[in-house]
Symmetry: C2
């Protein structure tokens, strides 16, 4: 056990963690007196207490340990924060590593900056409590739980050097989208894609009760992850020193294993590997108050949000807060002027290696235009309106095929959909690529390959999550699905549209490629499948969203569809919804008119 | 192996299965000549071929084997058909057991009836191709995949004698909602609830490619289900005789195990059992054409829908269809007049034991009114509008608490929600009941018990699915959640509203209790959580649905909320959406005015 960390390193890592915890608690509670230079008074405390403490110390613990391996192995890593309500932790860490002040110079690395840092959190005119677009390094808001793992996989497709460390809340793990996203490993090719390192944040509780995964036998938990195709490593405990050692050792092992898998796969094609993952079992609200008003708080759901409330009425709560914060020994962490001690700051990686500054988490920085053929070359000849019959999406398929081909070198274009690419008449894509598939194959299989660029899993949530992750890291793609079932992702659509809307006002967030939906099988052609398959309501749902973000297109024929698709694939920061027919239909416009 | 079935029984079971397969193919293809008394001619074939063959033989195989154990053990069982697109199989089986003709006398048990049975399927003015409300014995339409397992669990809560056999498509199993619904076993109490028997229908393919679960190692698959808390039994093969024996033997084992679990739990409380489940690995399109135009079809995705098409152009396809259907030896199955041979018909259970006639699948038949206290007794005194401040949902909580109490004997009322019951100020419920919890507990836990009636899992999909299953089997309940996140179930809401709409025109479907949403944290009170938590769009989404089904209520204060809740809980066949504040707010109306 002694091997990985020297006593000196351990002390520093622990101090760094305490600093992040200190800043997190400060954000939740303090309005003033950020270094606790004065005895804590109620006037230093925010009038309304908001935020989530419970998940935060675990997130901070992970962050500092990832920093260590990033430096040690010069890793290209991003941090996907499933329990995005742990926003204080993400803010604290990006502040400690320096990214925050670079992007928001007003939040400086001194006492004044600390005060502003604390005050702005969840405060009118300040920053949201979640890992929102405002948060450096974030591509997963995490307000609506369940999408972290799909985002992580989307981020690493075609990014062979990138590792997405993905913290999954054990509550979040109960959601449907998260529960199926584990299977994404059957679609990830270690030869050309990066790696996802899932870290199950098993802190035992959600808002007001235990989580399922925390209350099943260890053997069941192990089986579950083995069944999902992972090799779980357990890091369990509450005693900081032991936990630091264990986490450091485990991360070394796990990073070694990822490298090994990648090296082997890059030498020669092989079977799907069993990817490592970490189960981190720690107390919820770790290092927070053990009891409040005689009730168990640390290691319990009571620490989910703000463990100490009513500070104005309850003097002892104020005292408890003060001793809690002082327990982190801020004087060992920050200098007189509030600057983070240099020997601790040095633990963070440098420049773009900092997770808050990694350009993959600000995909617009990396975005390259698609190479596009001239869509007019695919035009259907329509000598006279209403005479030629054609399947519009089949015509589109050829255009998409050639886009796929033209960007085969750049590797920045993928198609996503729940097993309906062929049914939606886009099979031309299979002339130039395959479905991504890392699971077993048989000789009769068609169009399956580890390096396929058509992503098909029967989960609209996973498709959408992958695509979002892919776009947010600076690539291009589209989601093709039946109109009737796109409501399955109404909610994800909402969150992504909100994300885009917010980023418009964040100068350092560079525009990303639009999220393009290609919806087929529209109502008046759904006689086959019956009532459950009929639903044009998505358009209503969509136009509800701010028009500045969402565009809806209803191209009546093949040539209009081509021109619309061309436009949408070039656009930035929109959600484009294209509703098109896959059935034979009369064609109206020739290409000039379209 | 010889033990369970005599040779005679085996022959009959096989014949019954062939009959169901014959009728399924007939529905997909035939317009006339139902008994193939005449050489098959193109004029006997439907002009447009629709429907899904691939899943159907497996569904039929399961049905006849369930019939056997129902009779043998006098089981009270319903059949939840995950791959609802296998509608032809559900129709065929309910026809063979006699239910269909009882409910639809026009579809009689003779040649004329057979002809109509075939013709109506997926035909203008006929019946849908899915396990729709029109299908006897169905509570899961299955058009939108993913909800079967949650429906099954919802159906058996508080139904100690009921077994819901739940067929899960291996494609369906990739969806998020299905992937997390396996964990429902942590909320099912064998002492007071019935049992779910999941049968994974591992036929290897979805529309156009393999499924994930079919292409991982057997050991991974076993681990996955062990991890989900089940004991998997494998029934794998394609040779009918062997498969009949194996399935019969396995079902006997599995039913025995369920009984044992229940007997033990009903003697004394115990730990959560490991419930049995079946993995049925058979060829997709089993017994269908092996090859079509030289391409692998049986045991491949090509048999997903209509394996033989273009019968008018391709004479050999017509021939193939004829020999395929004749291969089932209809003359051994049906008499001259088209009646199902008596010695085969006898294999089906009688009366209400038939899965198509089980009243649990037509819940309105079993529905009992809730016992309701007078909501006026909970009224807040509002001497003058705009003076009293109160938390409306907290007032409602007391009313709900007493409804819970009054129906404690009837056991037909439950509350559902994703970990937010307390946060939504409904904690009064915990005065009289607990959260349902069959997983591990620790001494500090509060309000957790195996017989709890508050159902909390961090999956809006599972909550909604459970509630739907609970309502469809004739009970009452409500779903309480944050308004912002209810979009997660937009799509399930759609499907349920459609179901209700259709049942209005089906006289034998009796009205069921309404699906009641209680949405809290509405926009103007969401300063805490930020932008991701703001979304009033659900109301727009909802009112899009036919007004005859959906009612939206926006009670401005506590007393109006009480009166609205009272009304909604008494109503039938609606979806009621109640949007209410949980935060302190001014109260306007006294109870008379409300
Ligand atoms: C889809 C969704 N449903 C409900 C909520 C409300 N909610 C916020 S935090 C939380 C508990 C999260 O538990 P977990 O993922 O374990 O995070 P942690 O315990 O680490 O805070 C819930 C239910 C949500 N944010 N998203
Ligand atoms: C949520 C959803 N997405 C997509 C579809 C379109 N679809 C219909 S059947 C099918 C394949 C289903 O595969 P499986 O569940 O294995 O059923 P089976 O192979 O037995 O037909 C798909 C993707 C759907 N019905 N529901």
């Amino acid at each position: 056990m002694a091997g990985v960390l020297t006593q000196e390193e351990l002390k520093k890592i622990d101090a760094y963690w305490r600093a992040a915890n200190y800043l997190s608690v400060g954000q939740i509670y303090l309005y003033d007196n950020p270094l606790l230079k004065h005895p804590l008074d109620i006037k230093h405390v925010k009038p309304r207490l908001l935020g989530h403490w419970g998940t935060t110390p675990g997130l901070n613990f992970i962050y500092v340990h990832l920093n260590r391996v990033i430096k040690k192995y010069d890793l290209n890593m991003i941090y996907i924060c499933g329990p995005g309500h742990g926003g204080p932790g993400m803010v604290a860490n990006t502040f400690l590593e320096g990214t925050y002040s670079e992007l928001y110079p007003d939040i400086s690395q001194d006492e004044e900056g600390l005060k502003k840092l604390f005050k702005q959190f969840s405060f009118p005119g300040g920053i949201p409590s979640h890992a929102a677009p405002e948060t450096p390094g974030s591509i997963n808001e995490g307000g609506e739980l369940g999408y972290s793992l799909a985002h992580a996989y989307g981020a690493v497709f075609d990014n062979p050097d990138l590792i997405a460390a993905c913290v999954v809340g054990d509550g979040e793990a109960e959601t449907g989208p998260l529960a199926t996203a584990w299977h994404s490993n059957k679609f990830l090719n270690p030869a050309q894609d990066g790696a996802v390192l899932p870290i199950l944040h098993l802190n035992g509780y959600k808002i007001a009760g235990p989580t399922v995964l925390a209350r099943i036998d260890r053997s069941e938990l192990e089986s579950l992850f083995a069944g999902y195709g992972y090799k779980p490593y357990f890091v369990e405990g509450s005693e900081p020193e032991k936990m630091h050692r264990l986490m450091a050792e485990t991360l070394d092992d796990v990073i070694g294993e990822i490298k090994l898998i990648q090296d082997e796969a890059r030498l020669k094609d092989g079977a799907r590997p069993q990817w490592p993952m970490i189960v981190l079992r720690t107390p919820k609200g770790w290092t927070g108050p053990k009891e409040v008003d005689g009730k168990k708080t640390e290691d319990f759901w009571r620490s989910h949000q703000v463990p100490l409330a009513d500070l104005a009425e309850k003097k002892e709560h104020l005292k408890l807060l003060e001793s809690w914060m002082k327990g982190y020994k801020p004087e060992e962490l920050f200098g007189e002027g509030g600057e983070f001690k240099r020997e601790l700051a040095e633990l963070a990686p440098q420049g773009d290696r900092r997770m808050g500054a990694n350009p993959h988490a600000n995909g617009g920085l990396l975005l390259k235009d698609l190479r596009m053929p001239d869509f007019r070359d695919y035009a259907l000849e329509v000598p006279k309106p209403g005479v030629v019959v054609a399947e519009a999406t089949r015509v589109l398929g050829k255009f998409l095929r050639d886009i796929m081909k033209l960007n085969g070198q750049q590797k920045n274009f993928r198609a996503f959909g729940p097993d309906e690419t062929a049914s939606n008449r886009l099979s031309a894509l299979f002339d130039v690529t395959n479905r991504a598939w890392m699971a077993q194959t048989i000789t009769e299989d068609e169009n399956l390959a580890p390096n396929g660029r058509v992503m098909e899993i029967l989960s609209e949530h996973t498709c959408q999550g992958w695509l979002e992750g892919y776009l947010l890291t600076g690539r291009h793609g589209f989601f093709s699905t039946y109109e009737a079932f796109v409501h399955i992702v109404d909610s994800m659509f909402n969150q992504h549209a909100k994300w885009l809307k917010v980023t418009r006002d964040i100068p350092w967030r560079r525009p990303i490629a639009s999220l393009n939906y290609l919806l087929t099988s529209h109502v008046w052609r759904q006689d086959h499948n019956g009532f459950s398959h009929q639903d044009p309501g998505f358009i209503d749902h969509v136009v509800n969203k701010k028009a500045e973000i969402v565009r809806v297109y209803l191209p009546p024929d093949a040539n209009t569809l081509l021109s619309v698709a061309d436009h949408c694939l070039r656009s930035r920061n929109y959600v484009n919804v294209i509703v098109a027919g896959k059935q034979p239909a009369l064609q109206y416009l020739d290409m000039d008119a379209a």
